[in-house]
């Protein structure tokens, strides 16, 4: 009854093919495109800029505002009606908390840094791709951060601990748990942790160890995306 071979043939700890690019939206102060398998996320950062409404302004520091959206044609079934669903709002909120842990806006009182992430196609791992993309976009925008944040989902499918679940695995006909994780690079501290499904503590700890390695892979790609912009010289 155990999951011995993954639906797409990957090794248990293997991430889907990933791509990352920085500076893809010229209008934005910072931007990124991240592809994880068939999930694609665009991220754009605008700010620090003036914050309205006034009562939200913090005189001690700038604040961060995250927005997450799936394009109407990005769901694997029917069209998604445009608008801010409860799921989008929750994802935006956990994204914000995850990234805020590293951001320093003390030099920008009363201002706001807006982070927008929109996805043209999805195949699970959407909030992870969103956070990884947002992190690149923030660095691209020159926003001060103590460290990058890298994210990947880990979990368990029918007793086997795996990394970077695809939609087919999330929906697998057995006991599944899906655990999106985001971590810093230097200290490997967790800034995003959610879970649904069923898992034993033992497997949870195994999964988190897998996340440690998985987020390193993401980090290497994020670094490459940012440094690539400046590698050209003749």
């Amino acid at each position: 009854m155990t999951y011995t071979e993954r639906v797409d043939g990957r090794k248990f700890d293997e991430l889907r093919p990933m791509e990352a690019k920085a500076g893809v939206i010229p209008n934005a102060d910072g931007s990124a495109l991240v592809k994880a398998g068939k999930t694609t996320a665009y991220a754009a950062v605008y700010g620090p800029r003036e914050l309205f409404p006034r009562f939200k302004q913090n005189p001690k520091t700038g604040i961060v505002r995250c927005h997450y959206g799936m394009m109407p044609f990005s769901g694997s079934g029917e069209r998604i009606r445009p608008g801010n669903s409860r799921r989008s709002q929750e994802i935006a909120m956990v994204m914000e908390k995850s990234l805020n842990a590293m951001i320093d806006l003390s030099a920008f009182p009363n201002a706001v840094v807006d982070i927008y992430v929109d996805l043209p196609q999805t195949d699970a791992g959407t909030r992870c791709a969103a956070i990884s993309a947002a992190s690149i976009a923030l660095a691209d925008a020159g926003i001060p951060m103590k460290d990058m944040i890298s994210s990947v989902a880990v979990g368990e499918v029918d007793g086997t601990v795996v990394a970077d679940l695809s939609y087919d695995e999330e929906a697998y006909d057995a006991i599944v748990s899906d655990i999106p994780v985001a971590m810093t690079h230097n200290t490997k501290e967790i800034t995003l942790l959610q879970m649904d499904g069923e898992i034993s503590k033992e497997n949870l700890m195994k999964a988190l160890e897998m996340a440690k390695v998985g987020t390193e892979t993401v980090y290497e790609l994020q670094m490459k995306a940012l440094k690539e912009k400046f590698s050209r010289s003749d």
Partner: protein, 263 residues
């Protein structure tokens, strides 16, 4: 935030533009790509200069409208994503997004681009409904033309999903190789008037410095299917005639770009 309104106006009078282009030149590169969203039944990404727009087609089976029981339907929606410009905020579509959607919609619907009767499965009960969603990725001006290009390209690239013959359920994960019944290929071109001169493919700064504009959608036969005038200043009949000529000519130019990626 930067506005070069006066200089744009002065240059226009001399037939010049800030970026050195001719009045009737589109920016480069113009790049079209299909299949940018595996979840859409058809999708396209269009780049004109720095403007980037995406369109996705979703198909569903619905009960036909009462007054057209033997036809399917089409709807075009547009979102000006805040990620595409510092000018846009989160929230329901503002008037700019609504105008963009409705003008693009009219161009395709009124051209009778899709054979609605061929979308019918069972009269009075079931027909295919086509929804095109246009989203902006980077707004550097001329969303009207980019949106029209993206919508048409996505329509041409779209394939019907498989339908289970017994249950009638749609399996979105499997596409057939059957495309939409397209009769015409309408494209919109927007011509702008600045200080008495006519030009196409405005940048964002030029869009803030114009007197009037006219969007004209036409098909490959030169038949006009939709028009929209915008801007505070009036146009003479003669000017409208000239703008239509320009739009028809440029529509053919853009249509050739579409042919490069999808037949």
């Amino acid at each position: 935030m930067i506005s070069n309104k006066e200089t744009i106006s002065v240059l226009a009078k001399e037939g010049k533009r800030l970026d050195g282009r001719g009045l009737l030149d589109y920016r480069q590169p113009i790049q079209l790509e299909t299949g940018i969203s595996w979840t859409a039944e058809g999708s396209a990404k269009v780049q004109i200069g720095e403007t980037v727009v995406m369109a996705g087609v979703k198909l569903s089976l619905e009960k036909p409208y009462n007054d057209t029981p033997d036809q399917g339907g089409i709807m075009i929606n547009a979102e000006l994503l805040p990620l595409s410009s510092p000018e846009y905020e989160s929230g329901p579509p503002g008037i700019k997004a609504i105008e963009l959607a409705r003008v693009t919609d009219r161009g395709i619907r009124e051209a009778k681009a899709i054979d609605m009767k061929k979308l019918c499965v069972t009269p009075g009960e079931k027909a295919w409904f086509v929804i095109i969603d246009i989203v902006t990725i980077n707004d550097a001006g001329n969303l009207f033309d980019a949106a029209s290009l993206a919508a048409l390209t996505a329509l041409k690239a779209a394939k019907f999903p498989e339908v289970d013959p017994e249950t009638g359920a749609i399996n979105y994960k499997k596409k057939t190789d059957q495309g939409l019944p397209l009769l015409k290929e309408p494209l919109a071109v927007t011509v702008y008037k600045i200080n008495g001169q006519l030009l196409v493919d405005p940048t964002t700064q030029e869009e803030h410095a114009y007197d009037a504009r006219l969007t004209v959608a036409s098909d490959d036969n030169g038949t006009i299917s939709a028009m929209q005038k915008g801007g505070e200043m009036p146009l003479t009949i003669e000017e409208v005639g000239k703008m239509v000529d320009i739009a028809l000519d440029k529509a053919n130019f853009l249509r050739a770009e579409v042919e490069k990626v999808v037949k």
